[in-house]
Symmetry: C2
Subunit: 453 residues, 2 copies
């Protein structure tokens, strides 16, 4: 049995490791256009920030470790064409610039996603970066250490993590967001609050430009970026730019081969992570996901999901029978003293999906008010008015805002109604929560709203 | 309508406030043998520790505020007899030492619990305390500020909170536990680990004696405690002693009146918090609770539960129809840098309740290993082997051990099996959790154990 895996960051590396254990006799080859495999891309902002000195800390398993177990790793080798009828893939060797064909019995597509580059004049200047790979992180850190000002285009999860990193390194930072508020994946009421709270802790270390876009980059005679111009015609100096304006799945070569693409633009897979071809699987950021709440197709590319999908694909390839039940879109991001977290549907997306969302938002202490270190958190709960079913939640604050969202994920898995959730018996002690946790406050208010009229 | 409430800390005060809102015309009288009402007893260890200067911080609502709303507060007034056929209660005025009868249409028993005093010779010496009331907290803090050594008898939640308080105040502390390990409400494997971890952070500031009891107290000529002797015959000096050897419900006067007592020794109530008498309710620490997992009767006296029960009793007295669905026994306690948390059944109690418990325990980082402030947590998950249903969990560690138990509470409310719980999509970012959260690690191991044989 010849197994070929395309891509090796999270899903691909996980699939390779799991397949090795499950199928000791299979021939396993992993091809990636990257220079590294099996690394924690989510850790790059913390490497840049200097939380650890050696980027190798991010490597989960080295090519040598894989090779020692008989998994052949081919770096700088990009898949450019799949020939499904022939069970072959055409690979381009980026070092020697030649192409060659490899055969497979089973193929795993785990080619991930790449940064979206907005239409900006002069975008290819020196010191203009994206952040996906280890080398990106190394280059950004190196440049940041000698810079005074950094610009971040986009204020999603990675944009905000980089904002923290640059501020901690002592740079002045400008973050430019096209949407009216930062972190636009959240509901507008929460995004606007996040923006207000970020502004409140800025202390002249960073500025946020919203409803703005970068249209042009300026450079010096060495081809280095020196500034930028916005859509509203403002001009700014900068020493470096990182583009964090979203990602898109690497699926073009798969589409060309007839691999079905879902409505979200990512590769369509069933619960076994199999594509429309019997012996081609897809997992990780290049694959479409299913929302566990209602089975809706979504594309929410996250590292934790990629790991799980790689594992499930491997189990099924080896003859097992394991379903990947889908995601909730749960995510958390820290930016300096603020934590922002969400799971499930936002109110706006719940409406689009045909629910009748109703929500309750509370701002409360995260522990008893007389304790040192008490902080506020704002918590929004969303439910369907017709059924009372919980649909999602968002939290933001200097307080303990992350794990409360995880209490909600279990409620979503259990398909609890708001009323059922109000019965929850959460732990209580003064250092950890108020007598009535903000989660229960919000649930009680939401229940009253649902019951009214 | 005349409503009489007996007791006024959490359940009684909450019932009074809620009844006032729901029944503006009712005559409401609250009798308590305490000198304060409506206070956060759970905050007393933090007052003793000095987290805030004024004990009044612990008062939620003053007698004056209640009076302003027409709720009559009678301090130092103890209920000594209920005459259910006459709808009267005999009250003893502790200030003037006289008794008087009051009439009620509806009676709320919220008399709480009191400390159990073990059979110790000379237990009534000066500087021997229990910790239930505001004055206890004031007296303990006052004595601690001039003491060099404190002894705590019992290592439950309050014992461990006091251990932290005394250590933070710079006292040398001895904690004496009759059971083989501290915090014996946890399973023995976790209790023994807690003890080991506590010993690891002691730094000569405190010592733990287990499988030991205090048999005798020694005193000086002023009647002050100066030391103690243990069952194994060891002798120790001490400047003060706090007895935290458990509590029992204040129900004797109710039992005498024919109010039914449940198998747990607390007052039997239905989901409306009503006793066997149509117009007598009980709530808070004096009332029996139901475990939501299987409907078993339990007595787990906790402040957060008392608040909810007081609210439910008030709603039903006012003609509403609200059930209190019960508890999970969720609790958390901090002791210095350690957090200990639990919910649902322990393995030992699950066995006694007729389940076939199977468990998985993992010790993992609480966030990604390369992050600063990373710490270990140990997490134990318990499920029923036959049905796969989750039954409970326990967590301990220097890491983020509290909120992960709250994720489990929602899973218990939703009656999730371990397999369903493994599908959970928890939030992930390096500062908050490893890629695979310890909760999911433990669930996966537990699932494998359940599926095996």
């Amino acid at each position: 049995m010849k197994i070929v895996i395309l891509g090796g960051v999270a899903a691909g590396a996980k699939a390779a490791a799991k397949l090795r254990r499950l199928m000791p006799d299979a021939e396993i080859d992993l091809y990636t256009d990257d220079t590294h495999i099996s690394y924690s891309a989510c850790g790059l902002p913390y490497y840049i920030q200097g939380n650890f000195a050696d980027y190798k800390t991010l490597l989960v398993r080295s090519p040598q470790e894989f090779e020692a177990q008989g998994v052949h790793i081919h770096l700088l080798s990009r898949a450019i064409k799949i020939l499904p009828e022939l069970n072959q893939v055409l690979i381009q060797d980026l070092k020697e610039n030649r192409a060659f064909l490899v055969e497979y019995d089973q193929l795993v597509i785990a080619t991930g996603a790449r940064a979206v580059i907005p239409p900006i004049k002069n975008v290819n200047l020196k010191n203009v970066f994206t952040l996906r790979h280890i080398e990106d992180g190394i280059a950004i850190r190196e440049k940041a250490l000698t810079s005074r000002h950094a610009t971040i285009i986009g204020s999603g999860y990675i944009g905000l993590e980089l904002l923290e990193a640059f501020v901690e390194l002592g740079l002045k930072v400008t973050i430019v967001e096209f949407a009216p508020f930062v972190l636009p994946i959240f509901d507008t009421d929460i995004s606007s609050l996040i923006q207000e709270q970020l502004a409140g802790i800025s202390d002249n270390r960073f500025q946020i430009l919203t409803s703005e876009l970068v249209t042009e980059l300026y450079n010096n005679e060495r081809g280095e970026v020196t500034g930028f111009k916005t859509g509203k015609g403002k001009e700014f100096f900068t020493d470096m730019v990182v583009i964090c304006a979203g990602v898109k799945p690497n699926i073009e070569f798969a589409r060309e081969a007839g691999v079905a693409i879902g409505e979200t633009g990512a590769i369509k897979v069933n619960k076994h992570m199999r594509t429309n071809f019997q012996n081609i699987y897809a997992c990780g950021d290049c694959a479409e996901k299913m929302l566990m709440i209602d089975g809706a197709k979504v594309w929410i590319p996250l590292g934790s999901t990629a790991n799980k999908e790689g594992r499930v694909a491997a189990i099924n390839i080896s003859g097992g029978d394991q379903d990947f039940e889908g995601v909730l879109g749960s995510a958390v991001v820290r930016c300096l003293s603020l934590t922002m977290s969400m799971t499930g549907y936002t109110e706006k997306k719940a409406s689009l999906a045909g629910f009748q969302p109703v929500s309750a938002t509370v701002t409360k202490f995260d522990r008893v008010g007389y304790m040192p270190d008490v902080n506020n958190i704002t918590l929004k709960l969303i439910a369907d008015k017709t059924t009372g079913l919980l649909l999602g939640g968002q939290a933001v604050g200097a307080g303990d805002a992350d794990k409360r969202i995880n209490t909600l994920t279990a409620a979503l898995i259990g398909r609890l109604t708001v009323e059922e959730f109000t019965k929850n018996d959460l732990t209580y002690a003064p250092p950890f929560s108020p007598t009535i946790d903000p989660l229960l406050n919000a649930a009680q208010i939401l229940l009253a709203k649902i019951k009214k009229d």
